[in-house]
């Protein structure tokens, strides 16, 4: 029962969503199904939060390696939760001025907004900025001319990298038009790269159809867990 019921729900919902694509009358059914998913995801969010707090509190309590990070996580979690739910620093909305909590919790100048703007946002940007360093280190390894394929990859990468800058146009302006780096870059991206990308996309589409059918028909049940 523990596996049959979810399988049944998945199959019915899946076939309804497929049908909704072809039968106009059932289009709203598909939308209903997606709303149900959103409701489930919202409830599961509580599970996720509880799991986060439980594991990190355990870590702090046991003084396991890295327990300091766990403490920071728990403090940040509750701080943000309390600040957001209590709407600290939020001014009442002009429409309902008599109610102190009527303002939006992300209102500019509120404590929650302050945390987002001056802690969360810069931290996220910092992580994203690391990508620049990682691209350089990955490119350094990938573009080593070890064999013929690597040499072709390196040459192509060089043409595309330089061809995307003004230097590419300036340095190769004296060559015949077809060989200028900016034109070569266009050919590489719009012919070779695009063809490869489309081949991958077609494969992905077919893979999605096949896996979906396996799941809807109950051929693949590995994601459903155990009966016990």
């Amino acid at each position: 029962m523990k596996r049959t019921l979810p399988l049944l729900i998945a199959a019915v919902t899946g076939f309804v969503l497929i049908g909704a694509h072809f039968v106009p009358y059932t289009q709203s059914w598909g939308e209903e199904a997606m709303i149900w998913f959103d409701i489930l995801a919202a409830i599961a969010f509580i599970l996720g939060g509880a799991n986060l707090v439980k594991l990190n509190l355990q870590k702090v309590s046991d003084r396991r390696a890295g327990w300091g990070y766990a403490a920071v996580t728990v403090i940040a979690f509750f701080l943000t939760l309390v600040v957001g739910m209590a709407k600290m620093g939020v001014h009442p909305s002009p429409q309902f001025a008599q109610f102190a909590w009527s303002g939006d919790y992300v209102q500019e100048g509120s404590s929650f907004w302050f945390i987002y703007q001056y802690a969360f946002y810069p931290l996220g940007a910092t992580m994203f900025a690391l990508l620049a360093c990682f691209i350089a280190s990955a490119a350094f390894r990938a573009f080593r001319a070890k064999n013929t394929e690597a040499i072709i990859l390196l040459s192509t990468a060089f043409i595309v990298l330089v061809g995307r800058t003004y230097a590419g146009t300036a340095l190769t302006g004296w060559l015949p038009e077809a060989l200028q780096f900016d034109n070569l870059t266009g050919t590489i991206m719009n012919v070779f790269n695009l063809a490869g990308n489309r081949a991958i996309t077609i494969g992905i589409g077919l893979g999605v159809v096949s896996l979906s059918l396996k799941i809807l028909l109950g051929v693949d049940r590995s994601y459903l867990g155990t009966e016990e």
Partner: protein, 403 residues
């Protein structure tokens, strides 16, 4: 003399009074014929209103006399028209998608000039009634292709169930899963499994969860430690169930640690910070990245590389594939990720689905070749019949123009 004096006073007064009154804006001329038809291939809840442009609505006039068109509607049995929408100048159509199935409507279109000037209304000749279509014929070709591919998958699954041997090519990335878990066991370090950052309703995440089933089975068998940080609560729940089932299947339910699958955060870079921090502290010997990834793919893979882990990645995000190829030892490219569960399970009926996919590839390849040949022939010959065939292929077979 007195008469003449009064005449001039009156004339002067009239001139002054006209000069002092506000200048009335010139009304644009109305749009031409207005037609309203039932919107095709819908549930009978929309009407398409079309009109001919007002003669004053020129593409590039020195002074724009029409700035918008106002669309008004009333039920055939109703009394007054109400405004239901507005379209900008040079627009010729409006979709009224707030209709009730079976009700009849009349429409009017008014050209609006600057300063609020309004043209006389142009109206439809008769009422229109939106009707429900039982099948969306614009998707007919898509349905046919889906039927062929889906039918092939089901057919080959049945064929495999009947005992026919099916040969599937070797996928190096999936063969490496055993090797990676074995290596982690030998080194006494954990295996890290990242199921992407999208929710469980994404097919890539589901494909990732099915691969997790195999990895968890191996860690149970080899008694290696498994670590599964997730970025979605529902994925955490599904992964927990999957890992538990895998440990049970391997005959090691006692070794299952519920806390090995845990939730970090929904936030993309917060999740990356949590996972990479864990990687640097615990130095896993094997890292698996299976699912949907975005900018975090390279951060994760490069950190894994820095801690010396053997890395196997799989994603169907074409833009992230080069990063995984550059930084990981093995990469499952697109469809290989979806083939993983069938391949790893080794069950013949699951492998049948992969054969069914091949029919889709043959169909796709044929369409590509036919399209290329037609395009080339059209350029070389400029034949109208070939051009028509090419248009039919792109607009109808591959587009949404229907049969």
């Amino acid at each position: 003399m007195q008469k003449s004096f009064f005449f001039w006073v009156l004339a002067g007064g009239l001139v002054l009074s006209v000069g002092a009154s506000p200048v009335l804006a010139q009304s644009p001329r109305p749009p031409g014929e207005v037609r309203a038809v039932d919107f095709p291939n819908d549930a009978g809840e929309a009407v398409q209103v079309e009109w001919e442009l007002s003669p004053d609505d020129q593409p590039q006039p020195a002074e724009r006399l029409v700035v918008a068109y106002e669309i008004l509607r009333r039920e055939a049995a109703g009394e007054s028209f109400t405004k239901i929408g507005e379209e900008t100048y040079q627009s010729r159509s409006f979709k009224d998608d707030r209709c009730t199935r079976g009700a009849s409507y009349l429409y009017r279109v008014v050209a609006l000039g600057p300063d609020g000037a309004r043209s006389p209304a142009a109206a439809t000749r008769g009422p229109v009634t939106p009707v429900m279509q039982y099948f969306d014929f614009s998707q007919l070709w898509f349905g046919v292709i889906l039927l062929i591919v889906g039918g092939s998958v089901v057919y080959y699954i049945q064929l495999a169930r009947s005992g026919r041997e099916l040969k599937v090519r070797r996928i190096a990335g999936l063969e490496a899963v055993d090797e990676a878990v074995g290596r982690a066991t030998e080194m006494g370090r954990p295996c890290l499994y990242v199921p992407g950052i999208l929710d469980i309703n994404d097919m890539q995440t589901l494909a990732g969860v099915t691969v997790l089933s195999r990895v968890a089975g191996l860690t149970a068998e080899f008694d290696a430690r498994l670590d599964v940080p997730t970025s979605r609560s529902l994925v955490m729940t599904a992964c927990k169930e999957t890992v538990e089932a895998a440990y049970l299947g391997a005959g090691r339910p006692d070794a299952f640690n519920e806390d090995s699958v845990y939730y970090l955060t929904d936030e993309q870079f917060g999740y990356v910070a949590g996972v990479t921090g864990k990687m640097l502290r615990e130095r896993p010997a094997a890292c698996f990245y299976m699912g949907a990834f975005f900018a975090e793919s390279l951060i994760l893979a490069e950190t894994g590389n820095a801690v010396g882990a053997i890395q196997v990645a799989g994603t169907a995000m074409p833009s992230q594939l080069p990063f995984f190829v550059a930084a990981c030892d093995y990469t499952l490219i697109g469809e290989e990720l979806f083939a993983a569960s069938a391949y790893l399970s080794g069950e013949s009926h699951q492998l049948g689905s992969l054969k069914g996919q091949d029919v889709g590839k043959v169909l796709g390849g044929t369409l590509v070749v036919v399209g290329c040949l037609l395009s080339t022939a059209v350029v070389l010959t400029d034949a109208a019949v070939l051009n028509h065939m090419l248009t039919y292929l792109t607009e109808n077979v591959l587009g949404s123009q229907g049969w």
